[in-house]
Symmetry: C2
Subunit: 412 residues, 2 copies
């Protein structure tokens, strides 16, 4: 059986490396006589690569070669990747991808084509890098009804927050440090504004709850506005701030999906996930909470997830995976303002006693937090669970209090 | 397709409950037209059970019914379970079990029969209860060479140690508390002496490294001898004591397997695994460290793992799992004394300075630990990594030092 790899960047070159390095055990686990790399598609030249005889520049060579049964897509982006993957599936080839954008935007369509053509479309590497998460959700937890899934899905922001928490530096300084180390890109928007985590939670939500979720329908906040004050208040509350992407069942036919900073209790398994590591918590009706932890990005961890899918595709040439991933549905994702959660609110109050009294009158009892060296007119409270929109609106309409920062509080 | 369940105890009754409760989604995920419970085997009577018409007392009814294609074994123990499972596999039925003793002792033989008969023998629930671990190792991490696997695999001992660490109680008091809560049995031997964890690490070692490992070949220590002094020293060292079951590749054709108390660094994901929770760390050459966390026991978590296997067995009626689990091999598991590790050693020394000097001379520099209110003649040190037997022998032969407690130090 022959494999082609499209895109010889970080992940693609890792896939090629792994296919050679662990070739013997990979063939054995595939239950095939052979599993060999035939082509690498890339527009660039790699004259010094040990795989130089494998490179091609024309996609059609791969598309039209009947010997190639499995194609790995590690190009990233949507435009070309979507066009190529669609054509490959239509031509009856299985596709394995690490491209979260592609899966989050086009997952339903591509899975539908794969089903019609009786081939596999697999994407374990698109969420959580080297952490096994998609297969465990769809197989190991198959006997469960999943109630909620939540995770730290972006390593860059988690590195920045870890720096802010442990070394008491500002967001700007932590970001600069992450950029120097290569953990953050020059333009860090996709990471720090939560878009990357958003794509991943869309994929997980579709797998857990059965319907496609578009990133545009998900309320997404990043970590740019997190201040040292918030970090300190989280500590005094008994936890840490993490960028949490979460999806939750609401009744029988709706879900909530949000991405944003959140307070996580210190004793939670998610609280100790530091630096560039990722973790995903799955709350099932039978299992309770299960947590998966590991490297959410990086060349070899991600490549390892891709190759595991290649093995799976090679093994399952007859019987295809059925992810039970249906089309998107209007009003399926509720407005984040309707979602009930306790919230941390920090703001300014010239008269603290008066402000606390007014807040109590509006939304019931709150817990007042404290931190060392706080400005005298700073007030931070934790509310009881209420619809988020209600908390925001009511606290914005108090004359003695001017809220600056709202952060959700998790219960895991 | 029809299923039978043998043993209506805690796990078995959970399996039956789940098969009914989530019936619709289970059938869908099995890709079968139906998946129904036909028999429950138990020697006891359950006249008030809602499933009372399913009960049978004669194993042969299940064995001889060609409609039953998948049998769940949740009886526990070896004698009957082994006899029944073997007969079922030989009769061409797939078997799903939660019985770690059975898999640890007879895994190779039963898998060999299953392979010959082209049926499935699955046992996800035998390790880590509701935590997906066996399938992730064999599938998701298939592109990796696994270097090491280690875990907190016994909830009872982890509960006792958590109590000792957080509430500063003795082992005896913590055990009594665990017994009152039903977390520990009246005769707690299998848990507190490490036998339960030993069976589980034998199963994991076979899956990761490819050869059957018998519990009798594994050096196993429990937690009976852990004192409050050790707990405090672990804290001053910067970590906690956990009962760790670990298996590690040594060169190309040997492994080490041990079960015993160990120091775990505070920042490790295993350090924050508290109470009855379990966690498994897998160190792969491509993924780095991946950790799986969740409820390692209990009715519904374990039943959920069993039912996931039932779904898998129903789906894979044509193509069977190949675990690559070969027969045991002599001298494959090295003697624990040959295994290199840093160690914590606590003992008595009438003259501390003299003892430290003598220890340094025997095994090189050590780090001396301290704790509040330690008796004047108490000395606790942490060594550099050396073969465990060498550390034990050399420190037992120092006239100025009488070692009382040796505990391994982990590097995860």
């Amino acid at each position: 059986m022959y494999v082609a790899v499209m895109g010889f960047g970080t992940v693609g070159s890792g896939v090629v490396e792994l296919l050679y390095k662990n070739h013997h055990s990979i063939v054995k686990k595939s239950m095939q006589d052979s599993l060999d790399l035939k082509y690498i598609l890339d527009i660039r030249d790699f004259p010094d690569s040990p795989y130089k005889d494998k490179f091609v520049k024309d996609f059609n060579i791969i598309l039209n070669d009947p010997e190639v049964q499995i194609v790995v897509e590690t190009m990233g982006g949507i435009t070309f990747a979507y066009d190529f993957v669609k054509k490959l599936l239509l031509a009856g080839k299985s596709v394995v991808t690490s491209n979260k954008e592609l899966v989050a935007e086009k997952g339903f369509e591509l899975l539908t084509i794969a089903k019609e053509k009786n081939v596999n479309f697999l994407f374990e590497a698109s969420v959580g890098g080297g952490i096994p998460i998609i297969r465990p959700i769809t197989q190991c937890l198959a006997a469960n009804e999943i109630d909620e899934i939540a995770g730290i899905l972006n390593g860059t922001t988690n590195y920045i927050l870890t720096k802010m928490i442990t070394e008491d530096v500002s967001f700007e300084d932590a970001l600069k440090n992450a950029q120097e180390l290569g953990y953050a890109e020059k333009d860090p928007t996709a990471d720090v504004d939560g878009h990357d985590a958003c794509r991943k939670i869309c994929i997980l939500a579709a797998l857990c709850f059965g319907k496609h979720v578009y990133p545009k329908d998900v309320h997404t906040e990043g970590i740019r506005n997190i201040s040292s004050a918030d970090v300190e208040y989280a500590k005094s509350w008994g936890g840490v701030i993490k960028l949490i992407a979460a999806a939750k069942k609401i009744g029988d036919d709706k879900i909530s999906v949000t991405v944003g900073p959140a307070f996580v209790q210190k004793r939670s398994q998610l609280a100790s996930v530091d630096d560039v590591f990722n973790a995903v918590l799955v709350r099932g009706d039978a299992t309770g909470d299960v947590v998966f932890y590991g490297r959410g990005a990086g060349k070899m961890p991600t490549a390892s997830a891709v190759v595991a899918d290649v093995i799976d595709a090679a093994k399952h040439t007859l019987k295809k995976k059925n992810f039970g991933w249906d089309d998107a549905q209007e009003n399926y994702v509720i407005n984040y303002r309707e979602q009930s959660a306790a919230m941390y609110v920090r703001g300014t109050a010239e008269n603290r006693e008066e402000a606390i009294k007014a807040i109590n009158e509006k939304i019931g009892a709150v817990r007042v937090l404290s931190r060392e060296n706080a400005p005298e007119n700073e007030l931070a409270v934790v509310t009881n669970p209420l619809p988020e929109g209600e908390i925001r609106d009511k606290l914005q309409n108090i004359s003695s209090f001017a809220p600056v920062s709202f952060i959700r509080i998790t219960n895991y």
